[in-house]
């Protein structure tokens, strides 16, 4: 099997790449910072190739798509994502433009581009990473929440049309993950122990990607978060406000 992972250098993307290589698959690992991937490329003896792409840059993205024309994938995980946490009005508009470019524009352009160019094998799968914020809201990261809701609905929308091209779609709604991303954006004092290990999450995602599941809320936090959000949406957002917004210090973007 041949896979494409975006945001492969760190966190969940790295765990996904390592796990796939472990299972004996080939991976094209994409990131804007490829140095941390060099050891994997060497160790895997060619199974892991690395490509430098800046997803915030439309030209870089387009160059990548054009360069992929003769490759075929069985699994694509559009994992790269950034955040901006802080009061909505405290973050500069340029940071929002970049957030939307990386979290929303890039995955849409890649997904439709890969399918259009025939770069997806028959019975292949595209995995979108949304967030548990889809269920509970996210005061203190309202534009991040916007991108993650948008991704979830895009995935839902393309499920049928992509199936006609032989491509399945899986959307993942992870809760907090124990990665640098979470450390960077979480309010001070947030408990790291409640976050899911990226290696554990990577295994759950890869398992789900081989099955018929179309939406994955991985682990107990995500499962209960989804229920909370479904049955008491306003209360869920209030809890998020208490846990995050009211503890915010300086904005991070």
């Amino acid at each position: 099997m041949r896979a494409l992972i975006t945001g492969a250098a760190h966190g969940l993307g790295r765990a996904l790449t390592e796990e796939l290589l472990e299972q004996g698959h080939e991976v094209l690992a994409v990131d804007r910072d490829t140095e941390p991937l060099d050891d994997l490329a060497v160790k895997s003896r060619g199974a892991c190739s690395v490509q430098l792409v800046d997803l915030a840059n439309p030209n870089s993205l387009e160059r990548m798509l054009v360069g992929l024309w003769e490759q075929k994938f069985d699994l694509v995980i559009l994992n790269a994502g950034i955040s901006a946490s802080g009061k909505f009005e405290d973050i500069p508009s340029a940071a929002y433009a970049k957030l939307i470019a990386v979290n929303l524009q890039a995955p849409l352009v890649l997904a439709s581009g890969l399918v259009r160019r025939g770069a997806m094998n028959n019975k292949s799968k595209i995995v979108f990473i949304s967030s548990l914020s889809h269920a509970v809201g996210y005061p203190g990261a309202s534009v991040y929440a916007a991108t993650k809701d948008a991704i979830a609905t895009y995935a839902k929308s393309v499920r049928k049309p992509f199936r006609k091209h032989g491509v399945g779609v899986l959307t993942v709604f992870p809760g907090p993950i124990q990665t640098d991303h979470a450390d960077r954006y979480a309010p001070p004092g947030a408990k790291a122990s409640r976050r899911m290990e990226p290696e554990v999450l990577a295994k759950l995602i890869l398992k789900a990607s081989t099955g018929k599941t179309s939406e994955l809320y991985p682990g107990l936090t995500a499962y209960f978060g989804k229920l909370y959000g479904r049955f008491a949406p306003q209360m869920a957002t209030k809890s998020m406000r208490k846990a995050i917004y009211e503890k915010l210090e300086d904005p991070v973007y």
Partner: protein, 246 residues
């Protein structure tokens, strides 16, 4: 609350040159409010186009979100507005077809116009809205509920607005009233603009007049989230506001 007393309100409506936005601008203007209407077209004579003296139009093309937000802020400043009582962020565009055929440019354009522009505009409007607890109404679409195979990016941008509104409503709860209103299928020119011929399906669509009326009702009530379905449209027939009310 003081803000419900009949008086002349200051109202911003984006995408006010056609469809629901145009009807909203006229309806509020008829009740005596002052309207700043925006859109992407050039309009030479505001009075001839809108038919009412209290509507000022400026061109603010949302495909450049930052510039659109700046132009609108400048226009409010030039009008001498000290506060904003209501902003209806309604301007939007779409694309229809197999999502695999949607080009990067089409995707980017819809995200800029439908999502980034309202977000940057909300940020610019904050200080004006906070003066008197104004309302910020974002216009979504019922397409977000199940997704839309033929309008994938459009549906995504509207879901983005939903997620944005939900979180921002909580963030701004003591300063401004943020809401998201999701209209159902409405018989405006929007479908034709994106090359979609509705044919007989049109019969099942709401009339734009009814949709505009229902949206005004939802704005008055201030529900955090409202789906303007045909049922809610019918329910809004007698929900008329008086002179000076929103």
């Amino acid at each position: 609350m003081a803000k419900n007393e009949p008086r002349q309100h200051t109202i911003l409506i984006t995408g006010a040159t056609d469809g629901i936005g145009l009807l909203l601008a006229r309806a509020y203007a008829e009740r005596g409010h002052r309207i700043l209407a925006t859109g992407r077209r050039m309009i030479a004579d505001d009075m001839a186009y809108f038919g009412l003296p209290n509507i000022t139009y400026i061109r603010a093309d949302q495909s450049d979100p930052k510039q659109a937000a700046q132009r609108i802020a400048t226009a409010m400043y030039n009008l001498g507005w000290k506060q904003l009582d209501l902003a209806v962020l309604n301007g939007a565009t779409g694309w229809t077809g197999d999502p695999a055929a949607e080009t990067p440019d089409e995707i980017r354009k819809q995200i800029d116009i439908n999502l980034t522009a309202p977000i940057l505009l909300s940020q610019a409007l904050g200080p004006w809205l906070f003066v008197n607890g104004g309302k910020l109404a974002l216009i979504g679409s019922t397409a977000i509920v199940k997704g839309q195979g033929a309008f994938a990016t459009y549906a995504a941008t509207k879901a983005g607005l939903d997620g944005f509104a939900r979180s921002l409503r909580s963030e701004w709860q003591d300063r401004a009233e943020v809401m998201i209103i999701h209209p159902g299928p409405t018989r405006t020119g929007m479908h034709k603009k994106v090359g979609l011929n509705l044919g007989a399906a049109k019969a099942f669509f709401m009339s734009p007049k009814r949709a505009a009326k229902a949206i005004q009702r939802a704005i008055r009530k201030g529900d955090g989230k409202r789906f303007v379905t045909r049922g809610y449209g019918w329910g809004s027939i007698f929900a008329s506001a008086k002179e000076g009310q929103l």
